[in-house]
Symmetry: D2
Subunit: 357 residues, 4 copies
């Protein structure tokens, strides 16, 4: 078997739905020079369709827009549906996503960042390092197809950082209770998203729907696949979500109740040792170390650490005992890279490495 990093076949043509939003822009950036995928089509709303991408988008990325992509004509989702891309990335808004994604998923693989289908029984809610086996929910590729059809969903941006930090503990020690308070960046709300008038010199301690997502998604992702269905993990999760005036990077204060008495050393070790299927397969977007433990006196900080592992690592620090539960720590992840477009691209890479060869 060859090294997946040098994907042997020709690059797989892909499309991005919802390409003008902030997550869509991240997809465009990540796919502009991806070794396995070739970005061939962009879809956005009726209003943008027909324009060249450069004109349709309000580009807010720090890296300049790739020239080839800038000149691509934006299409509608309907037009993309007629095309032959085997793989479609979706950054559609929740309301539109539901139907459109199902339509695409009848004959294509859809890797989506939308929340519409995350809790559907036939949809793997995938964090590649955490529950790669959940991909078995997908039906094997049809004859002549390289990839299975169906939907693979990216969890909520905060959930991803949380479960990556929890997974090594769940595997080695066991967790039964999690209390998490998030401090989330504004990029998570997209564009126009959070008004500057509301968030400057402020914390908004409410992100509608977010806490529920964190609480329910965590159980599904850490759940067990049995008889082609997911049995959620038995885990009480309390999430309190806040919006803070930070551009990128969600910071999480986490307390956990452990299933067994454990030394903090074991916990640190679990993070430091953690490697998973994406690392073993050498997937192009996989960070060498998914969970980086900085040190007991070194707090992960959004501006300093969000780009670690090209924005795909979770940075953890300040592990200490908790007077109420068992252990406490701080975790940080990049919400539009690992928490959105980057996570979805890594998910697609995992599917390709498993099936598409």
């Amino acid at each position: 078997m060859g090294d997946p990093k040098t994907h042997p076949g020709p690059r797989i043509p892909v499309a991005v739905l919802g390409a003008t939003g902030t997550v869509g822009q991240r997809f465009v950036r990540l796919l502009a020079d991806h070794p396995w995928f070739r970005l061939e089509a962009l879809a956005a709303s009726e209003r943008s369709a027909g324009q060249c991408y450069r004109d349709a988008v309000t580009w807010v990325q720090t890296q300049p827009l790739d020239d080839r992509v800038a000149q691509m004509t934006v299409r509608t989702c309907e037009q993309i549906l007629e095309g032959r891309h085997e793989l479609v990335f979706s950054a559609l808004g929740g309301d539109v996503a539901s139907e459109v994604e199902r339509e695409f998923a009848r004959r294509r693989l859809v890797v989506t960042n939308a929340s519409a289908h995350r809790m559907d029984a036939d949809v793997p809610l995938l964090v590649p390092e955490v529950n790669p086996d959940h991909l078995d929910l997908l039906v094997a590729p049809a004859a002549g197809a390289r990839l299975p059809a169906g939907i693979v969903a990216n969890p909520n941006c905060s959930t991803i950082g949380l479960v990556l930090a929890l997974k090594p503990l769940a595997d080695t020690i066991g967790i039964d209770r999690v209390s998490v308070v998030t401090m989330q960046a504004v990029s998570g709300a997209g564009l126009p998203g959070v008004s500057s008038y509301q968030i400057l010199d402020n914390v908004i301690p409410w992100i509608p729907g977010e806490e529920e997502k964190l609480e329910i998604e965590t159980g599904k992702i850490l759940g067990r696949l049995e008889d082609a269905r997911i049995d959620p993990a038995a885990l009480a999760v309390s999430a309190q979500c806040n919006r803070v005036p930070v551009v990128d990077g969600h910071t999480l204060c986490v307390s956990v109740g452990l299933r067994a008495p454990a030394q903090l050393d074991e916990v640190r070790e679990a993070w430091r040792e953690f490697r998973a299927e994406p690392q073993a397969l050498g997937l192009p977007s996989a960070p060498p170390q998914p969970t980086v433990y900085l040190g007991d006196d070194e707090p992960p900080q959004a501006r300093l650490h969000r780009e670690l592992g090209k924005g795909m690592a979770v940075t953890i620090g300040r592990l200490r005992e908790c007077p109420v539960l068992d252990a406490r720590f701080v975790a940080l992840s990049h919400n539009t890279l690992r928490g959105a477009a980057g996570g979805a691209v890594l998910a697609a890479e995992l599917v390709v490495a498993r099936y598409g060869r």
Copy 2:
């Protein structure tokens, strides 16, 4: 008995130690036109002594500096010690505060915002609405004196918001566990305090020493006075403290374990009904409602609610059940008003109303 709001006697001459820092400036503002107190002396470091206050201070308050005070000559603490002010407010830094405050306290009442003596056995750690009876730790005024000598300590800025929110619940239902995550404003770190280069576009999930203070002070304040000593409340407290790019106002995400099963309605009611001795006595700085519950869907926000009750109220919202403990909510308080200078002035008012008449 007269109405304390119209304090009958002449105004009590007071001094402020550490008058040029941010908390010192708040003291100066609050005392500039206080109905009971007359600001007569300002002390700061050797470096500032001898200058007029206007020149010695980097004024960062939004209200202009009072002209009379601006022209006062800054003195050293030693010089103030020779004076005859019966009441001294201290905004000294921790290292200096310890000895100086004890010196002053031999013959005067010192109300301090410093942390040096907070946990001393003979020092009431006072939140006037929460533990006014702890003032009994003070020895009654000497013959000829209006006020008792000794130290009254203001708790940590975050602790104050927390215990005010907890007190109505502790009284009516009972609490045994508290998990709190704070998002604290930069003004709490004073001047120069937090470098802008470190906090812009960032969250710093560590404030050295802060978590320990919150955890230990809460127990003392909610403790019971027996045989002239404080018996700390039996309460497990877990605090996780974060610095966020907000000017004023500490936001707290709180989960509590209750001693008895309770309806959320009882909790809301407890906050809405809560009034205490400062309200009964009509102290000049007492907010009409110490704990303001906004509503289940209305999150307290630093920029919008920190000035409520002239910065002396704690604003609470988003009460809901907690999957890990029993109930969760958000609380907000102004860290340099209620959490520092304002709290200390209210404490002094309470002492005066009890003894000084």
Copy 3:
């Protein structure tokens, strides 16, 4: 003649159009307890009409919403048009404002913050301290009416600060060239206005249409009324406008070319001495000193000085010679108070004091 501060007659019933936006909210705040006006009706878009104001508005003011107003039912502009309010404040958006305001102005006085009619020949573009005589463009009140009908326009929020700072110089020394660079707060863009994702950790050196407004409005306001028309001042104005991550307060760096050689002392003196009709009349919203000069080494700062004179003063500092033009300085004004709702209320007070008695 009586003291206008104690307006003799009953309070004048007024309505606010566009009451749910950020400027509309400022109107509501200022009119909630105005001594001359009684807020009786609120209009907003179809979507909000029929709701009570509390439900229709996303309140972002730091002072709580007045209870009486909170319970008022929001109406459409059409419904207000049928009412009998002699005076209407408009915070309508530009596109809607044009027609609606003309409609109202046929039988009422409309004081507007919208830009639609600012440059109309029959509309005074009023800064009460600067060009009160421009009110003569209005036709005298009809028989039985207290107030004249027509439109009085509030200039752009940046223009107001600029012309207030320039007026004392124009009167005493003469100005022929002005180069101004603005650093404008996000509240000037309303809600949702500027996305936080675009302005955090950023400066946006472009506010579409703003520079043109500043350049053209300044000439009209400083112009001379002759034969019932305004002759714009002969003044070259160059404006460069920037959005910065500040909540409230526009900061202006200004260079001026003077018509006559002058000492900087004369310039300082001009600002310090400046008083105008609103001060002479003692209008309720008039700041005691319209232009406050802080000092050569004291820069006006948005967070510290925007509330000066209840947000109605312009704060000036750092006067010094300019190597390119003649003199340079920094000016600051509160963009939603003096620069929007407060300015409009003061304008209305001036009309009332002139005609309405």
Copy 4:
């Protein structure tokens, strides 16, 4: 002649003075894997000397600290002086820099970011694309030395962006007046630098000493070298400097008076065509395009464009006519890369390419 990009000889050993500050950290980052230089020694204050660099520094860069450098022992300047590094980068503070740098410069090349010697007659104030010929002020290398001894000074961070934007115009059309207003990032003030309490929700329209630097340095840099001395350019410069809550990137609003009538097209063209000696020599840190013109409707933005050309390009946009001078535009440059450490490294590269071979 070989390609300087593949510098033929062994890497030149270099030292960094003032290595723990923010500019020092940038030096460390840029030199960690520089193709021509090998970082061999770090100096900081007495307080840090003897510690390993990792412990001595408060690392605030987004890229992690290089392991080899992290373990280097910090020394004092005196200790470095005894070493044999031919090239020393200085990020010393102004007060210390003056003497120390002269001491080093007797036998070494010092490339400094400090302001102490910028206006010295024998010191080239170098922007490599603008005045490479000023290097002739240095005395040729002594026998056996590869590099000349002496001081090469990096201009002020704002000056660099300004003169890079002006140079193409000065060369092709001629400039006689410049009016510039800066909006400067907090990183320019170093650590602790600007207190967050003073800059959050604020603009500080004063940076002591900065305006004078911009005004005087611009003339020297654009001046002509004649008879081994610099004749400053005949150019009136007015600078007004502001600190804004931005992490990195100085934004400049510039108006220029031109020596000859010109079409805006010629100005645009001048920027687009501009290449200079560093580009011709292919210096490792030279951006391919030193001045990038974005477009008339595309404003350069700190967060989006500061990293262009690895932080070494100046981004320009919004060229338009000026009603007071002739033309106006916005320019942006990265203040700690191009404006500090990056500029100094590029300067050193230029010296090496000229002499060191």
